[in-house]
């Protein structure tokens, strides 16, 4: 097991190193010099040069890459070109919106998907199953930003239950902050719930055909008891994988939803930074998101190997 963990750990480190190289050089070849962008088209060449020196843009690419990676390893993400504040601080600020939003959305999606998936699997082929499956087909097809607009139309403009956008801030109290995250979380959660419910249903259906399920029935458990005691636990493996993937997706994928609701989250930060050519912010946030995805995958792999020793010999 230790050998397996080390091997996966090494592959994690290599992936991260390659990812950092790719991110740095893709953004480097981008046209548009941040210094001249910041100063506008009428800037004197020597002013631009001075700013380039100040931002460290006159160093060689290799120096800047090593400086960037070295800084990140010690928690120093550099200084934003446009806001003149430490990038780490900006990211931490935005995390207080994006992370709760992702957790909120994931909780909602799980709360919807589990009962729906279990219900559909238990009534396979019956009208209840078809209704749930039809609803999930629709859920997968709806663009979340459009769904968000409809939610705003109904719950903010017509019913006035929620604000149409913006974030109250945690200093206004937990309730107010959560209230401003509710519509965005629903908009994010519903398409995810549709996917999760489908996975849950098909995982359960696979399990229902297994020998141990027949044994469970044969020893006198009802269908429902067998499903709850033996079926669910075994169906959790594919379901947890999808939940892991969805979490990292929600963290990054909220970018458009944050635009719809004017939420000051990570996605909006990246979006604004891209438009302002604030390269250091873009690089750091993208790297952070990639790090989140790769680490989640790594943890999922480890969890599998712990549960199922057969997997350790593979890869």
């Amino acid at each position: 097991m230790l050998r397996y963990a080390l091997k996966r750990g090494l592959s994690l480190a290599i992936s991260l190193a390659v990812a950092s190289l790719v991110i740095f050089f893709v953004i480097e070849i981008a046209p548009g010099d941040p210094a001249s962008f910041m100063l506008g088209i009428n800037a004197e060449p020597d002013t631009v040069a001075a700013l380039r020196t100040e931002l460290g843009l006159d160093q060689s690419k290799l120096q800047r890459y090593l400086g960037w990676v070295g800084g990140m390893l010690s928690g120093d993400f550099g200084m934003s070109y446009t806001y003149r504040t430490p990038v780490a601080e900006m990211i931490a600020d935005r995390m207080w919106v994006s992370l709760p939003l992702a957790i909120y959305a994931l909780t909602l999606s799980t709360l919807i998907a589990f009962p729906a998936g279990i219900y559909a699997a238990a009534r396979r082929g019956k009208p209840g199953d078809m209704a749930v499956m039809g609803a999930t087909q629709l859920g997968v097809a709806v663009p979340n930003f459009w769904f968000a607009m409809i939610l705003v139309l109904i719950f903010a403009i017509n019913l006035r239950w929620f604000g149409a956008g913006g974030f109250a801030g945690w200093d206004k109290g937990f309730g107010a902050a959560m209230k401003s995250l509710t519509l965005p979380a629903i908009a994010l959660a519903l398409p995810q719930a549709a996917i999760l419910a489908r996975v849950m249903r098909s995982a359960l259906l696979d399990i229902l055909g297994e020998d141990f399920m027949r044994t469970a029935r044969a020893k006198g458990l009802t269908r429902r008891q067998a499903l709850w005691r033996h079926g669910l636990r075994n169906a959790m493996i594919p379901v947890l994988t999808i939940i892991g993937l969805q979490f990292s997706f929600l963290l990054a994928g909220a970018i458009i939803i944050e635009q719809v609701f004017f939420l000051p989250g990570l996605g909006r930060l990246v979006f604004q930074a891209i438009s302002a050519r604030d390269l250091i912010v873009v690089e750091s946030v993208v790297m952070l998101l990639v790090f989140a995805v790769i680490s989640v995958n790594f943890l999922v792999d480890l969890a599998y190997a712990l549960v199922d020793p057969r997997l350790r010999s593979r890869t």
């Binding site: 663009p143 607009m149 139309l153 970018i255 891209i274 998101l289």
Partner: protein, 270 residues
């Protein structure tokens, strides 16, 4: 044919037909502004109403279908064109450095937040349909590479491949002549699914202003324009959104239906 396939095929055909017809006929010129007739709800003259410039929404939806289909289709083409050969090569040289390299590169692309990268690419290299296609297409490559490799690996164990090897065919020829035809079904199904994801991605990029640029109509941008007017003209948001949902739903149903229809095992089971 099953119910999903018929319904999916029907919906998809309507959208494709609307896109094709828009080349020769639309009820109105989709760029023609008519301010006195602005913000009309659906009526006899303007079947789906008009927008804030008095443009005919039905015509815009028809032309917008063109943009969506073109972007998603080429993005799937990029994914298949590069992903399938990579997957075939990886499977043919299973366990080699090439295989390992291709699969690790795939994992890496998967780890990147696709939407952020797509926004990055379009923002850096300029907003527009071509860059949107490339941004969406890149993320299709690993999907096709992985699915091709997975299916091809099990085929390489089969007797008919051994027979081909004995008859002196090389790995490249076997991949092209024997493996590819046998994974084609799988690729068609996955292609349909990626196509629908491409439509959603294009809509998202256009919505944030990074997809097709004016005057090319696109469903995503129609939604972005509608956002500030949703309180007094909800049809501006409801119609393009429904067009996206119908298209994606049709493609997904078609994908599901095709999978059942093309897989003889599932057909027997029914």
């Amino acid at each position: 044919m099953n119910r999903n396939l018929i319904l999916g095929l029907g919906l998809s055909c309507v959208v494709v037909l609307a896109a094709l017809v828009s080349f020769v006929w639309t009820p109105f010129d989709h760029t023609a502004m008519n301010i006195p007739a602005k913000l009309q709800t659906p009526n006899g003259t303007h079947w789906l109403g008009t927008d804030h410039f008095g443009r005919d929404i039905f015509s815009m939806i028809m032309v917008g279908a063109r943009t969506s289909i073109a972007v998603a289709l080429v993005a799937v083409g990029i994914g298949m064109g590069l992903g399938v050969p990579l997957g075939l090569a990886a499977a043919a040289k299973k366990g080699s450095l090439l295989d390992e390299g291709i699969m690790r590169a795939n994992d890496l692309v998967f780890a990147f937040p696709s939407l952020v990268i797509a926004i990055l690419i379009t923002a850096i290299f300029g907003a527009g349909a071509i860059n949107a296609i490339i941004a969406i297409g890149i993320f299709n490559i690993p999907v096709f590479a992985r699915i091709t490799r997975g299916a091809a690996l099990s085929l390489w164990e089969r007797e008919f491949i051994l027979a081909a090897q004995v008859s002196g065919k090389g790995a490249a020829r076997i991949s092209g002549e024997h493996i590819l035809p046998n994974v084609a079904n799988l690729l068609i199904v996955q292609g349909t699914i990626q196509f629908s994801l491409g439509i959603l991605a294009e809509a998202g990029l256009s919505y944030v202003g990074l997809g097709a640029q004016p005057p090319t109509p696109s469903w995503g941008r129609m939604l972005a324009d509608a956002q500030t007017m949703v309180s007094f003209a909800p049809h501006l948001a409801l119609i393009p959104g429904s067009a996206i949902v119908v298209t994606v739903l049709g493609l997904n149903l078609m994908g599901d239906g095709l999978r059942d229809w093309l897989d003889p095992k599932l057909r027997l089971a029914r």
